[in-house]
Symmetry: D2
Subunit: 100 residues, 4 copies
Amino acid sequence: MKQLTEDILKFRDVRGWGNNHDARNLAISVSLEASELLEHFQWRSAEEAIAKDKEGIVDEAADVFIYLLQLSHVLGIDLEEAARQKMLKNAQKYPAPLNT
Amino acid sequence: MKQLTEDILKFRDVRGWGNNHDARNLAISVSLEASELLEHFQWRSAEEAIAKDKEGIVDEAADVFIYLLQLSHVLGIDLEEAARQKMLKNAQKYPAPLNT
Amino acid sequence: MKQLTEDILKFRDVRGWGNNHDARNLAISVSLEASELLEHFQWRSAEEAIAKDKEGIVDEAADVFIYLLQLSHVLGIDLEEAARQKMLKNAQKYPAPLNT
Amino acid sequence: MKQLTEDILKFRDVRGWGNNHDARNLAISVSLEASELLEHFQWRSAEEAIAKDKEGIVDEAADVFIYLLQLSHVLGIDLEEAARQKMLKNAQKYPAPLNT
């Protein structure tokens, strides 16, 4: 993920796009891309949406991830490590049932 | 990321939560978590939001990622590879300026 | 607003679109249209966005309202009355400062 | 709707909240409230969500409407008239089938 993040940052810097990429604007973009992802499922079941345009769905999921990596860079965090820490919190909040 | 995805799937299966985790419901959850991320920046600048609750912001970014990994699993794709492919498409769509 | 709601319902029924317009699908559409509204402001200030495409912004705000009226119809509520009731709740939750 | 809008504006002005209510911040809030509305339907069917908390759903729909009215005020438009104009555009874009 580190190499991917560097490629994303280089891509945008070469095009002079990074000026107003603060955490607020990146959070807006994460939310907008997540909606474009959801739009594939508007008035459609999961199966119908995937049959109609799986490549489009994958591209939008990728866009959410790309903005999430830029946000992580701005916040100075490792997204994968943050997810691991969040899973530990979730495990405390929702303990596993016994005998599993 | 493979290990993280497996941990996430195991976490939810142990709790019996995976029944209706199809791509549509996961896309809804990605969008909802992205909004909870953005909510930290409602009526606040990036600086103010980070100063007020950086841990909360990081946790919400992690939640978006966690649902994105579940969606990727359901779609049978590698999210990091999808992002790399999307960057290649972006590079064709928005060519780099010369002399850079 | 009653006449407008009836026009919207007739518009969709004539086209055979109303079949899966339950509250969940309408809430998804409200959210998607709200994101299309916000998209006008991606990487732009309020002034820049309005100067660039005010008509587009107004159209998206109208789309959010149109789905909101359909949702209100499905829920069997009067949206304007619901907003008035919500304002009363807000007034209790956030009392006005004295001497105003 | 005019009286309702005036009440909303007075409510926020009395509390000194209107300072940064420009169109961009209001569009963010419309989107966030639309997600809180959708959140009622996360992992639930329409019926389940309404049975569980209809009042909460109505309150969130009202919140979307309240921010939409503030946005309309900032844009200097009549939301109901905008919706009527949008329906006319929709009728041209999607003509009604014959014999209806």
